[in-house]
């Protein structure tokens, strides 16, 4: 175990991938000379050269599509899109090509493409750089959607994604890049299973990505109020590890889903529906959701804080639910 920031963990993953497989290359906006908008690829251009660390024009559709083509052509591209909001300019390639080609061609082609992007709010960069749209992406069959929340996952899920024969979309919460954690180099990191990050018996807080740390902090506060919360990190939104969610709910009988997406049509709604369908009779109360307020994320800190899920709101939602226990 070594200490590393999330950004260092991503960089270590990129480096290991580039060293380990000549088919791997990185392309995206400012990944080369600038070193990456979030400094994840700093130093890689110098080490691996411009053929493998490719700065692209601001042409999201073309370079994501080129990633699809390069994957079809035998390479293992890693495409960095600066933020999830920018990825909307590449939705045609993602939804119409990356996700469909395997099935639509009758199984003739695989698209082993990895796309990384920053997601989420909390940095006062307003409504065109702060949204959490990974739940949208999780709607699409044909791609895989993962949300590493720890430094071990930040590195390990990237390396695991590169072993996949199908497109994997990695959502890195922008707030996490400077945060530090224990990097477990020996961990076997998969792309499919949810992880219990804190064991508890009174309530299951189900979350992913940047919200994990808010959920863990909420669980600590709740512990002081004699409420023992279990915290589940989904890690992967598609495929969704429903059985781990249901096992947790079967134990705690209560669930609060925390999702930085907007409440309406949120990924939290999907988790809630899965619990209704598979764990209804285990529940002692309705599934609760803590999501973002239904507004474009505003710039001033007090408004942004009010718009995003926060520790107090999670604590309150849990207390509300647990109040009814007999």
């Amino acid at each position: 175990m070594t200490k590393a920031t999330y950004r260092e963990a991503v960089r270590a993953g990129l480096r290991e991938a580039l060293l380990g497989d000549p088919r791997v290359f990185l392309m995206g906006e400012d990944v080369g000379r600038y070193g990456g908008a979030y400094a994840c690829s700093r130093g890689l251009l110098e080490e691996f050269g411009p053929e493998r660390i490719r700065d692209t024009p601001l042409s999201e559709s073309a370079f994501v599509g080129a990633g699809i083509g390069a994957a079809l052509g035998g390479m293992r591209p890693i495409v960095e899109v600066m933020t999830v909001n920018f990825s909307l300019l590449a939705l045609d390639q993602i939804v119409n090509n990356a996700a469909t080609i395997r099935h639509m061609s009758g199984g003739q082609f695989s698209v082993p493409l990895v796309v990384r992007m920053a997601t989420g709010g909390g940095r006062q960069v307003a409504a065109q750089h702060s949204h959490s749209l990974e739940g949208w992406y999780a709607h699409i069959p044909g791609i895989k959607v993962v949300t590493p929340a720890t430094v071990t996952d930040a590195k390990g899920m990237l390396l695991a994604a590169l072993k996949e024969p199908d497109p994997v979309f990695i959502f890195e919460h922008a707030y996490l890049y400077p945060t530090e954690g224990e990097l477990d180099e020996s961990a076997m990191v998969d792309l499919t299973r949810a992880a219990v990050r804190r064991s508890g018996r009174d309530v299951s807080i189900v979350t992913f990505g940047g919200s994990l740390w808010k959920a863990l902090e909420a669980a600590d506060r709740l512990a002081g109020q004699n409420i023992d919360a279990e915290v589940l990190d989904l890690r992967s939104l598609r495929p969704l590890d429903t059985s781990t969610i249901l096992a947790s709910v079967a134990k705690t009988h209560r669930a609060v889903v925390v999702d930085e997406g907007w409440r309406t049509g949120s990924f939290a709604a999907e988790v809630s529906a899965q619990i209704m369908e598979g764990g209804f009779y285990d529940l002692d109360g309705p599934v609760a959701r803590v999501c973002s307020a239904e507004v474009p994320i505003p710039y001033p800190k007090h408004l942004e804080d009010a718009a995003l899920p926060n520790v107090a709101a999670i604590v309150q939602a849990v207390r509300q639910l647990v109040k009814s226990r007999g």
Binding site: G67, H103, G106, F109
Partner: protein, 325 residues
């Protein structure tokens, strides 16, 4: 005028154009019988483009085409029966029946679709060419698209990226003058496609798309330039679609006279006339050619008719490569 190419080659070009036309005439007939559903975009009138262009490629080269791709797939060598079965939606089709008319795929022939989002194939073609360049391969990627695609951002983004990185990709614009029903000059302030390409740093020229020999010559020259490591090249084939955009098109946007005028330049009729003039085609040759094509298409229809439907249990097969999802 004298014969510019040998007789065998000339007859083959004619045969290929006729083969595409007869295949599609049969497809239109089967459509009205309800054997084929969904969208069916016919290439009739544009055959000289695919036939001329495809002479420039080897089986090593990659191909990306559009939803009007029956001709390219036939020329690539995917058997007519496999393609007809795909039109039927049968499991013996070239995409197990899952794509239909708009989504022909053939991995064994490096045929990457069958892309039905206008402009959506261009970035993929750029990526295929990038993969070749990074792997030190000398083959090229040919990407067909229509005049409608030049309005898409993906067209400009892709040309720029290919030129910037000097990628071995050949952009082939089948300009049939209409983006579905909107004439090029009605949606583009600059309707000259070659100028747009040049503005992106891509060498470009326009060719008479109704003249199979001119198409072949220009495409071979452009392909040679691309293979020589000079970066991408764009050809604009000026052509015309004789039939409706798809099977549901009242053709309110063009006059019958205009269509009739273009039909005077039918690439098959014209080439046939040239061959007769050059004394390398007799009525017997033509009859034999037609008979062989008719037999091939009859066999293709029989293959499609006899083909099985994909079992419903396989509906979710191949959403992912590994089956555990």
């Amino acid at each position: 005028m004298s014969l510019e190419i040998d007789r065998t080659k000339a007859l083959d070009l004619l045969r290929q154009m006729l083969r595409i036309r007869r295949f599609e005439e049969k497809a239109a007939e089967l459509y009205s019988l309800g054997k084929i559903r969904g969208f069916l975009h016919l290439y009739i009138g544009e055959e000289a483009v695919a036939v001329g262009a495809m002479q420039a490629f080897t089986q090593e080269d990659a191909l990306v085409a559009t939803y009007r791709e029956h001709g390219q797939a036939l020329l690539r060598g995917t058997p007519a029966g496999t393609l007809m079965a795909e039109l039927y939606g049968k499991a013996n089709g070239c995409a197990r029946g899952r794509g239909g008319s708009m989504h022909f795929f053939d991995a064994s022939r490096r045929f990457y679709g069958g892309m039905a989002i206008v402009g959506g194939g261009l970035p993929v073609a750029v990526g295929l060419a990038l993969a070749d360049k990074l792997q030190g391969k000398t083959r090229l990627t040919a990407c067909f698209f229509g005049d409608g695609a030049v309005a898409e951002g993906e067209f400009h983004e892709s040309l720029n990226l290919a030129a910037l990185w000097k990628l071995p990709v050949l952009f082939l614009c089948e300009n049939n003058r209409y983006a579905m029903g909107t004439a090029l000059a009605r949606h583009q302030a600059q309707p000259d496609v070659t100028l747009k390409a040049q503005a992106e740093g891509v060498a470009a020229e326009a060719v008479d798309g109704m003249d199979v020999l001119a198409v072949e010559k220009a495409t071979k020259r452009a392909a040679e330039s691309v293979r020589g490591g000079n970066g991408p090249y764009l050809l604009e084939y000026r052509t015309y679609r004789f039939r409706a955009h798809s099977m549901y098109d009242a053709e309110l946007y063009r006059t019958k006279e205009e269509v009739e005028q273009w039909k005077q330049r039918d690439p098959i009729v014209i080439f046939e006339g040239q061959l007769r003039e050059w004394k390398c085609l007799t009525s017997e040759d033509l009859a034999a050619m037609e008979a062989a094509i008719a037999a091939e298409i009859a066999a293709a229809v029989a293959e499609a008719e006899a083909g099985p439907w994909e079992p419903v249990e396989d509906l979710t097969k191949d959403v992912y490569t590994s089956e555990q999802f």
